[in-house]
């Protein structure tokens, strides 16, 4: 039962400066080894394909290093990692804890990597359940453990009654009913070929599978990817050449001092991520290293990181200095962000009483622009309006109209999609029906994990209620 390795973000989203990802199970060390690079390897070695084996780590010691995406060797975050070997851990299994920067995007990305490497996402109360089953928690606490399991389940049920989750539930149940009907048809054709000859209409089933079911699931998965705006917030990146006021702008928006703001260009060498709420919308904002040509290896890393970050952001605040003419660097930055959603932020407008227009090339006209003074806290309301309007689109945005699956749901839907595509392939290539039934059965079981419905649904009942069966 407990031979799987589970993982989850163990800290509440958005709270605190550090987020912890917890992995428990017999494969937790090999999994973490695949994505962790110790800081003792020199920076150039970070790109090495060879991972280090964390099983050599001392139990209950913190190690500094980086989380790296094993597919492209990109550094995801700088972290502290601790190994807690069985039985001296909460679950009494091998546990790895990764302390990362707590931005929800980063945490989700790291969790995604862990899951990709073979962990499964932890169910409600599962760490506690394992701790209990493995004898970590005293027997008298059994009832408390049960309360946790029930409480988590009830809570998700509670959430399910709200509109957003309820819609998802309904949608999945509808798909599940369809599939169950197909399964009944297939089984009727197998078990009662003489009673229900030719009931399997392959064209109809594949059409419904493809057009209705598979497409709906793809949409749901797509909505997960878009849905992170509501769940995890909009990802904003501030870019601009050095010393145009990026850090000052960020501080204005989040209303606190975070980046070291100086007049020396290149001060912000690392990526700084903060989250705040703008008119009720969660925003993650990143202040990047100034994008400029440099030979300083540390700065190069910061700049590369900024470019990566731009790639996966939702909206870019491109800041230029109203007081100086556009330079080669400004044009280079524009090239980088050209394809992204951007706002041109013209800073230090207070220095010009005559408020003359900044001279920008025609190609920049597509960017909405706003003038501010980060220093004097001016023009910020206009900027905020613009951010909200662009992020949510011109139409009034009703989050309840969109069905957004969570990560656990999304992962299940991914698997479900594979099974259903196999089923369609099977129909198209004339596979035996009993094989197609396996794929459909699998998809139904997976969807059951979302709805919490037991998979004990009786397909035989379904057959008898729909077909005339008898000797």
């Amino acid at each position: 039962m407990n031979d799987s390795t589970i993982a989850a973000v163990a800290t509440p989203v958005g709270a605190g400066g550090i987020g912890i990802i917890k992995i428990s199970g017999q494969n937790s060390l090999p999994i973490a080894s695949r994505i962790f690079r110790g800081s003792h390897s020199s920076i150039s070695n970070l790109e090495d394909k060879d991972s280090i084996d964390i099983s050599s780590f001392k139990s209950h010691h913190l190690y500094h290093g980086y989380i790296v995406d094993p597919e492209n060797s990109r550094v995801v975050d700088e972290v502290l990692l601790a190994v807690m070997l069985a039985p001296h851990s909460y679950t009494r299994e091998d546990v790895v804890e990764i302390q990362a920067h707590s931005g929800p995007v980063v945490l989700r990305f790291i969790l995604d990597l862990v899951l990709k490497c073979g962990a499964t996402i932890a169910g409600p109360g599962e760490f506690t359940k394992r701790a209990y089953i493995n004898g970590r928690i005293d027997l008298t606490q059994a009832e408390a453990v049960i309360d946790i399991i029930n409480a988590r389940t009830n809570k998700s049920l509670e959430i399910a009654t709200t509109l957003i989750k309820g819609e998802l539930q309904l949608c999945i149940e509808r798909i599940s009913d369809y599939l169950f009907n197909f399964l009944a048809e297939i089984n009727a054709a197998i078990d009662f070929p003489e009673d229900v000859e030719e009931i399997i209409n392959v064209d109809r089933i594949t059409r419904v599978l493809q057009n209705n079911i598979i497409n709906t699931i793809k949409e749901l998965i797509g909505q997960y990817d878009n849905g992170h705006i509501l769940r995890d917030g909009i990802k904003l990146v501030i870019v601009g050449k050095p010393n145009v006021g990026k850090s000052s702008l960020m501080n204005c928006l989040i209303k606190k001092e975070r980046s070291i703001v100086t007049a020396v260009p290149g001060t912000t060498r690392d990526l700084i991520e903060e989250s705040f709420s703008l008119r009720g919308m969660p925003i993650i904002i990143a202040d990047t290293a100034g994008l400029h040509d440099t030979d300083d290896p540390v700065e190069v890393i910061g700049i590369n990181k900024a470019k990566d970050y731009i790639d996966c952001s939702d909206l870019i605040l491109f800041i230029i200095d109203a007081g100086s003419i556009l330079t080669h660097e400004d044009h280079e930055i524009f090239k980088i962000i050209n394809t992204k959603n951007s706002i041109l932020v013209i800073n230090k407008s207070d220095l010009f009483s005559d408020r003359h227009e900044v001279n920008t090339p025609d190609s920049w006209e597509k960017m909405p622009r706003v003038e501010i003074s980060a220093l004097y806290n001016m023009g910020l309301d206009g900027l905020k309006d613009l951010i909200v309007r662009i992020s949510l689109g011109e139409n009034s945005f009703d989050p309840r109209a969109v069905i957004i699956p969570g990560l656990r749901h999304k992962l299940i839907l991914d698997q479900c999609l594979i099974s259903l595509c196999l089923a369609v392939d099977g129909f198209n290539s004339g596979s035996p029906l009993e094989l197609i039934a396996i794929d459909i059965q699998e998809a139904i079981a997976l969807l059951g994990e979302i709805t919490g419905r037991s998979a004990n649904n009786d397909v035989i009942d379904q057959i008898f209620s729909r077909f005339c069966i008898g000797k």
Binding site: I133, P193, Q441, G470, K471
Partner: protein, 639 residues
């Protein structure tokens, strides 16, 4: 002092000599127990009171499993078959099923002969009315004359005989089958012992006189070209093969039934027993599917030496005068003479949640049940339970561990787990869709799956085991060869592939990749790269299936692994479900009555959710922990 008691003391007494009783008696006697098989009428041993046929979809799998465990059904079916068919050939090998049409008198005679020749086995005619219980265990049985037999275990295989009531229209007769005595004493006694009895209904269609039928109005049914024996041990098929005929009812037949529903025992409210949905009486078909314009009728021969024809599809519970009109409404049956009328029958059964996995009752130690008494229907379902109960009764007598297969091993295990976990609300029949690991539970691998088990029980001889083991070795070897052989593109190869209707190859390719193509069979790839060994048909078949369905087989094996993990989590015998904190009262009640033996079994109970399963897991852990604590405490106190 009791004098009216038989001096010989049996290990096992089997009550009822139908398909369950015969297998139970034979298997236990062959395992070395002294066995008594009692029947109300010795001329009805292994009778076929309904369709004279063995096998069918999912049932064929059961028969092959019985055969692989050393049972008799498949052998007798082969000896008496007058028609062979393989069903579902348009689908994959997992759901191919064998079916024979049998000479029902020869079937009865052949089975009776085997039983009479079996050492350790006595066959006697008697009607058992009472069980003798001592200290909660079975000790003997008593017949209707008060004569007693002593035993250590009993297998009840009473079929439709417990309070059997036959209905034709408004007429009802106390009868175990039409024209036979029913047992009204035994069910009363079972109730007194505390068993909860339910009532089921089944029925059988009319038998028609062959010479009164106009067969030109029917279509001859396709019969298998080369009959393949059902039993792994049958070498030759002896009897001539004769076909069945297919026709249809019509609007006239349907109107007649609709107009006369009020005379049907089923629809007039006389019958209280629950019928099977898959085997509807004609009245049901008309009521439930009023839009259907015709229903199939199959005319099946009942034997070589009889003119009786079984009219499959025309089952009903109507009075004779309406039955005659109904039968004659069918095209080709205008002149038909009914030799035996259709009838419905109600009988008592024990809801099988009162039974343990070994088919022993929870209430009385040493009392086993098999067949229709457990709420099933069908000869094959009965026989499978018969061999299971017989083996387990023998294991109990010989103090051996119970014989229990799991759902990943056999259809019979699926059936028994379903029965004891979910109970039977209607007569239970086997379907392939009941088996979640259907791809693994094929007819073609029943011997590979089960013969070794049969051998360890002493029911399969050494030669058969050796044969299976050598075949298994050969299959593995050949699969490895195919997976390790590379075929390089050449004109010769590609021309050959094209001639086989498949794509040519551009690069070197492993032989198994070619075999995986749906249009390619083993012979084709064997011709491409011949095996150094002599590969017989049976080996080739397994190799082909294993390679073609490799991906799905792996999938099922992974599912089976998950399933076994939950099966391994046992629930202690004295675990109190009502004390589990966090379970709903409804579930507490349900679990207390079913008393599942493992978390796996629990997961299959209706209404169990994943969180209820988690809660139970924790509670069991706590329970075991407490026991451990007490044991340690007791140890400390002892010293």
């Amino acid at each position: 002092m009791q004098v009216n008691i038989y001096q010989k003391k049996y290990d096992i007494i089997v009550i009822g000599a139908g398909h369950a009783g015969c297998e139970a008696a034979l298997s236990s006697a062959r395992m070395g127990c002294s066995v008594l098989l009692v029947a109300i009428d010795l001329d009805k041993v292994a009778a076929m009171p309904c369709s004279p046929s063995i096998g069918g979809i999912a049932k064929g799998q059961l028969v092959k499993e019985i055969d692989a465990l050393g049972g008799e059904m498949a052998k007798i079916a082969d000896k008496t078959a007058i028609q062979y068919r393989t069903l579902n050939t348009k689908k994959g090998p997992a759901v191919h099923s064998s079916r024979t049409q049998n000479d029902k008198i020869r079937y009865h005679m052949a089975m009776k002969a085997v039983i009479e020749k079996q050492p350790n086995l006595d066959l006697k005619q008697a009607m058992i009315e009472r069980l003798v219980i001592e200290n909660g265990s079975i000790a003997g049985v008593e017949d209707c004359t008060g004569f007693g037999y002593q035993t250590r275990t009993v297998v009840l295989a009473t079929g439709t005989f417990l309070s059997g009531l036959v209905h034709i229209g408004f007429n009802s007769f106390r009868s175990g089958r039409a024209g036979e005595f029913a047992s009204y004493g035994l069910p009363e006694y079972l109730k007194q012992l505390g068993f909860q009895l339910g009532r089921l209904k089944t029925g059988t269609p009319p038998r028609l006189k062959k010479s009164s039928i106009d067969f030109s109005k029917f279509n001859k049914q396709d019969v298998g070209h080369t009959p393949a024996p059902i039993s792994f041990f049958t070498k030759k098929i002896n009897l001539p093969q004769i076909p069945s005929y297919i026709g249809y009812t019509n609007k006239k037949s349907h109107k007649l039934i609709k107009d006369n529903l009020k005379f049907s025992s089923l629809y007039s409210g006389i019958i209280k027993g629950i019928p099977a949905r898959y085997c509807p009486s004609f009245e049901d078909k008309i009521v439930r599917f009023p839009d259907k314009e015709r229903h199939q009728v199959i005319l099946e021969p009942e034997g070589l030496d009889t003119d009786e024809i079984y009219a499959s599809g025309l089952g009903n519970s109507l009075p004779m005068e309406i039955q005659i009109q109904f039968v004659r409404s069918v095209e080709g049956l205008e002149e038909a003479e009914i030799m035996r009328p259709a009838y419905a029958i109600e009988y008592d059964y024990i809801n099988p949640v009162q039974i343990k996995p070994a088919l022993e009752t929870k209430l009385i130690s040493g009392l086993f049940t098999a067949g229709q008494i457990n709420g099933t229907s069908g000869y094959e379902e009965a026989a499978a339970q018969g061999i299971w109960a017989g083996i387990n009764a023998a294991c109990k007598v010989q103090s051996r561990p119970a014989f229990i297969l799991d759902r990943s091993q056999a259809y019979m295990a699926v059936m028994i787990d379903d029965l004891i976990t979910k109970g039977a609300r209607e007569p239970y029949r086997m379907f392939t869709s009941r088996a979640e690991y259907r791809l693994m539970l094929r007819e073609d691998n029943a011997d590979l799956r089960l013969m070794e088990t049969g051998h360890s029980l002493g029911l399969i001889d050494n030669d058969a085991l050796k044969d299976v083991k050598e075949r298994q070795k050969m299959i593995t070897k050949e699969i490895n060869r195919i997976k390790g052989t590379i075929i390089k593109p050449s004109d010769k190869t590609n021309n050959y592939l094209l001639s086989c209707g498949t794509k040519p190859i551009n690069n070197g390719i492993y032989l198994d990749q070619i075999l995986k193509r749906s249009e390619i069979d083993y012979q084709t790839i064997d011709a491409l790269a011949k095996s150094p060994d002599d590969i017989n048909k049976k080996v080739a078949q397994q190799v082909e299936i294993e390679i073609k369905y490799e991906g799905y087989i792996k999938k099922q094996l992974r599912e089976i692994e998950k399933f076994k993990n939950l099966e391994r989590m046992k629930i202690p015998k004295d675990f109190d479900f009502t004390k589990v904190y966090g379970l709903s009262n409804e579930l507490k009640k349900k679990l207390s009555s079913i008393r599942p033996i493992s978390l796996g079994q629990t997961s299959r109970i209706e209404g169990i959710t994943p969180s209820a399963l988690s809660v139970l897991m924790v509670a069991i852990k706590a329970f075991n922990g407490r026991i451990q604590k007490y044991k340690i405490a007791a140890k400390i106190l002892d010293t």
